[in-house]
C-alpha cells in the first residue's frame, strides 16, 4: 500500500469524455479537478476514472475458513477488481452474529488498506433461522446489512420479525431466496440438461416460490428486502410486479448468471456449481433485459472462494460458488459493454448498490471521499490466475481475453491497488 497525504492523478478521462483531466485528492477526500499539481503525482495513462465499485455480496471466509480466503486476500482481490467497498457475508465459522466479531473484522480490514470492509451480520443467531440476532447491537458495531446468506430463511415468521426489527434500525435484510424443500439435493438447474446428465435438479420454482412468499412478507411488514443473486426470468417478473405495487424490494444479479448456463455442467466440472444454479439461456437473457430496463437493481459477484481440491471433487460433493471479483468488470465490459454502455455498468456497480443498501451515493466531486478506480477500457489481457490476489486461483474464464482492466484503485485517498 502506498500512502500520500496529497496526490494528483494526471491524464485521466471521465466516462464518455475525450478530455484529459487531473484529479487532486487530499486527506482522503477529493480536493478538486484540474487544480495545479501538488504532492505526489501519478500518471493515469489516459485511463477512465469511475467511482470505486461496491460489492454487496462477497464471501471472504474469515473467520474460520482462511484456507479458502481471508480478509487480506479477499480485500486485495476486491481492490484489484476496482472495488473500494465490500460487504462480506456472515456465514463464517463462527457466524458473524456477535458485535465483537463485526468490530474485529472492521478493524482488521482497515489496517490492511485494501478495499474497505462493511460486514453483513447474521439475521438470526448462528444463522439458525429461528432466533433473531442482536440486530441493534450488531448495527451499532457497524453491520451493514442483515442476512442469513449461505442458508435460506425457511421460517417465514422469523423473516417477518427480522424485517420489522431491521427496518426500525434503518437496515436492509437481504435473503438467499430458495425453498430448501423444493431445492432438495439439487446440484444444478432442473431441466433437460440435468435429466440428461442424471444430476439432481434444483427447479426454478425453488427460487420463485420463495420469492413470492418473501414479497408477501415484505409487503406486510413494510420493511426493506433485498433478494440476492436472482437467477430466473420468472423471479424477475415477480419482483418487477411487486415493485409496481409499491413493495419495498430490490434485487441483485450476478455476472455468472448472465454469462453461463446449465449447459456448462456438461463438462461435469464443479467450477460451474453455484447456488442458485446456472439457469437457461432464456433466463440469462431475461436478467440482462432486467439490467437494461432497471428492474434489476444492482450487480453482485457473490465472490465465493473455495480451495481447488474442494472444487475437484465430484458434482455431488463439491461446494457451490465461483470466485471472480478481480475480473468482474472486465467480464461485464467485454461481454456487455456494447449493449449496456459504460455508464450503466458503472451505475450498477456503484450508485445502484449504494441506493439498495441505503448508503450515500458515491460521486467524484470535491469534498467526497476519494474512492475511485481507473479503468483501461481498451487493452486486451488474458485472465491469468498467477496475477490473482484471491486464494481461489481458478474460475470459468481463465485464459480468456478481456478488456476493461482496473489499473488503479484508490480507497479513502490511499492507493489500494495498482496494476503492474
Amino acid at each position: 500500500m502506498t500512502q500520500h497525504s496529497t496526490l494528483t492523478i494526471t491524464n485521466i478521462r471521465r466516462p464518455n469524455s475525450d478530455t484529459s483531466e487531473s484529479l487532486t485528492i487530499e486527506n482522503g477526500l477529493i480536493k478538486g479537478w484540474n487544480l495545479p499539481e501538488e504532492g505526489q503525482t501519478l500518471d493515469g495513462n489516459g485511463a477512465t476514472i469511475v467511482p470505486a465499485f461496491i460489492e454487496p455480496h462477497a464471501h471472504l471466509r474469515e473467520p474460520g475458513q482462511e484456507q479458502k480466503e481471508d480478509l487480506a486476500s479477499g480485500l486485495a482481490a476486491a481492490a484489484a477488481g476496482g472495488y473500494g467497498t465490500v460487504v462480506s457475508m456472515p456465514n463464517t465459522a463462527p457466524v458473524v452474529d456477535d458485535p465483537a466479531i463485526v468490530r474485529a473484522l472492521i478493524d482488521k480490514a482497515a489496517a490492511l488498506g485494501f478495499a474497505r470492509l462493511r460486514p453483513a451480520a447474521a439475521l438470526t443467531r448462528g444463522q439458525d433461522g429461528e432466533q433473531l440476532a442482536e440486530l441493534a447491537l450488531l448495527a451499532e458495531a457497524g453491520a451493514a446489512v442483515f442476512t442469513d446468506d449461505g442458508r435460506t430463511n425457511e421460517n417465514a415468521r422469523t423473516l417477518r420479525l427480522g424485517l420489522e426489527y431491521a427496518h426500525s434500525l434503518g437496515k436492509v435484510v437481504s435473503v438467499h431466496a430458495e425453498d430448501a424443500g423444493l431445492r432438495a439435493g439439487g446440484v444444478m438447474n432442473e431441466g433437460p440438461v440435468s435429466e440428461a446428465l442424471g444430476l439432481p435438479g434444483n427447479p426454478a420454482a425453488a427460487e420463485t416460490a420463495h420469492i413470492a412468499r418473501d414479497i408477501e412478507i415484505c409487503r406486510m411488514t413494510g420493511g426493506r428486502l433485498h433478494i440476492q443473486h436472482l437467477s430466473t426470468a420468472r423471479a424477475l417478473e415477480l419482483v418487477k410486479a411487486a415493485k409496481t405495487q409499491g413493495v419495498n424490494i430490490t434485487c441483485e444479479v450476478c455476472p455468472h448468471h448472465l454469462l453461463l448456463t446449465d449447459e456448462a455442467l456438461r463438462s461435469f466440472d464443479a467450477v460451474y456449481k453455484v447456488a442458485p444454479p446456472l439457469r437457461t439461456q432464456s433466463d440469462a437473457q431475461a436478467l440482462l433485459a432486467g439490467l437494461k430496463d432497471g428492474s434489476v437493481d444492482c450487480l453482485a459477484t457473490d465472490h465465493a472462494p473455495h480451495t481447488r481440491a474442494e472444487k475437484e471433487l465430484d458434482l455431488l460433493q463439491a461446494p457451490s460458488g465461483i470466485a471472480y471479483i478481480e475480473i468482474a468488470f472486465p467480464l461485464l465490459w467485454t461481454n456487455f459493454g456494447a449493449e449496456l454502455g459504460l455508464q450503466k455498468i458503472v451505475e450498477l456497480l456503484t450508485t445502484d448498490v449504494a441506493r439498495v443498501l441505503g448508503w450515500p451515493v458515491p460521486s467524484l466531486e470535491a469534498g467526497q471521499p476519494a474512492d475511485f478506480t481507473l479503468l483501461d477500457l481498451e487493452t486486451v489481457r488474458p485472465v491469468d490466475p498467477a496475477t490473482f490476489k484471491s486464494k481461489a486461483k481458478f474460475n470459468p474464464w481463465v485464459g480468456q481475453d478481456l478488456k476493461g482492466w482496473p489499473m488503479l484503485t484508490v480507497v479513502d485517498g490511499q492507493v489500494a491497488f495498482e496494476r503492474a
Binding site: 431441466g191 433437460p192 440435468s194 435429466e195 440428461a196 446428465l197 442424471g198 444430476l199 439432481p200 463438462s267 461435469f268 481440491a309 475437484e312 471433487l313 465430484d314 458434482l315 455431488l316 460433493q317
Partner: protein, 310 residues
C-alpha cells in the same frame, strides 16, 4: 473417412460412439460368447495389460463381471475399492486416479455415486476409462448388454420397441438405454409414476407414459427397474405395495404385451416389488441371459478400447 475411423478412447456414455462402431462392438461380442462356450475360457488378447477396477460405490456383480471379462482376455486385474468413506476423508477422485495411474495401469473401470465421475477419471488419467455406473447418469455396458440380449433374441434392434418401467428418474440404466437403443434403431418407452418419470427425458425415439399397459402394448422387450425402499422414504411413492399395484411387471401386465415379448431386469431384483417372482423366473425372462451376455459385451468393450478395431 470410414465409419469406424474415429475410435472413441473411452466408454463414458454413447455420445462419441457411432451406430456403426456400437454395432461392431456388439458383433464382436458374438465372438466373445464363443470363447465363453469353450472348455478353456481364455484368450491372450490383453496379455501384458493391466485393468484396474475402481469402485467408489459398492457393486459386487458388476465388478465380478468386469474382472472376469478382463481375466478371460488374459489381462492382469487389480481392484481398488475406494468406497464412499475415502471421499469423506477428503480424498478426491483426482488424487485416487493419479496414484493409480502412477502404478502404470492400462485402463480403468470406474463406478461412482456421482454423475460425471467417470468423466473426471478420464480427465485425470489419460488412460481408457469404462464407466461402470456413475450416479444416475450412465451405465453404458449395462445398456450394451441389454441391447445385445434383445438383438440375440430378435436378430436385430431395428424397429424394436423396448418398454422400461420403474424408477426412471434415478436410473442410470434407463438413461443409457434411452441413449443407446434409438441409436441402434429401436424405440424406447419410459414408464413410471410421474414422480419417477422426468418429462425432460423425452427425445427422438424416446417417449414417456405413466400407463404401463400402454407401455407394453407393442413392446418386444419389457424391462423392469429396481425400486428401492429409500424412494418411498423420500416420498416419491406412497409405499412399495402402492407402487407395485400399478407398475409391477407381472403376468397380468404382460397379458397386454405381444406374446413374443421378453422380460429384462438389470438386477439386483426386488422380487415382488417391481417384478413378480413368477415373471422373473418365467419363460419370458431373459434375466440370466443378460448376466451371461454382459460378460461377453464387457470383453468386447475392453478389447475394443485397449487393442482392436472391432
Amino acid at each position: 473417412m470410414n465409419a469406424l475411423s474415429s475410435k472413441p478412447k473411452h466408454l463414458l456414455d454413447f455420445q462419441d460412439w457411432s451406430a456403426e462402431r456400437l454395432n461392431a462392438l456388439l458383433d464382436n461380442a458374438d465372438t466373445m460368447m464363443q470363447v465363453l462356450d469353450r472348455p478353456v475360457k481364455k484368450v491372450p488378447a490383453l496379455q501384458g495389460l493391466t485393468v484396474c477396477t475402481v469402485f467408489f460405490e459398492n457393486s459386487t456383480r458388476t465388478r465380478v463381471s468386469f474382472e472376469l471379462a478382463a481375466r478371460r482376455m488374459s489381462a492382469d486385474v487389480v481392484s481398488f475399492a475406494a468406497g464412499a468413506s475415502s471421499v469423506n476423508k477428503g480424498e478426491s477422485i483426482r488424487d485416487t486416479i493419479e496414484v493409480l495411474t502412477a502404478y502404470k495401469v492400462d485402463a480403468f473401470v470406474v463406478r461412482h455415486q456421482a454423475a460425471g465421475a467417470a468423466h473426471l477419471v478420464a480427465r485425470y488419467s489419460g488412460k481408457p476409462v469404462i464407466n461402470a455406473g456413475d450416479g444416475r447418469r450412465a451405465h453404458p455396458t449395462q445398456a450394451l448388454l441389454d441391447a445385445y440380449t434383445i438383438r440375440r433374441e430378435f436378430g436385430t434392434l431395428e424397429g424394436k420397441t423396448v418398454a422400461i418401467i420403474g424408477d426412471v428418474r434415478h436410473s442410470r440404466v434407463a438413461r443409457s438405454n434411452a441413449e443407446l437403443l434409438p441409436k441402434l434403431g429401436a424405440k424406447v418407452i419410459l414408464c413410471g409414476p410421474a414422480t419417477l418419470l422426468p418429462r425432460e427425458l423425452a427425445a427422438e425415439g424416446v417417449t414417456l407414459t405413466t400407463d404401463p399397459r400402454e407401455a407394453v402394448r407393442n413392446a418386444d422387450a419389457v424391462m423392469a427397474l429396481r425400486l428401492q425402499q429409500e424412494r418411498m422414504d423420500a416420498g416419491y411413492v406412497g409405499s412399495l405395495q402402492d407402487y407395485a399395484r400399478v407398475y409391477q411387471v407381472n403376468e397380468d401386465l404382460l397379458a397386454f404385451a405381444p406374446n413374443e415379448a421378453v422380460v429384462l431386469h438389470p438386477g439386483p431384483m426386488n422380487r415382488d416389488v417391481e417384478i413378480s417372482s413368477e415373471t422373473a423366473d418365467g419363460p419370458r425372462s431373459r434375466i440370466l441371459a443378460q448376466v451371461e451376455n454382459g460378460q461377453a459385451v464387457r470383453m468386447s468393450t475392453l478389447y475394443h478400447l485397449l487393442v482392436g478395431r472391432a
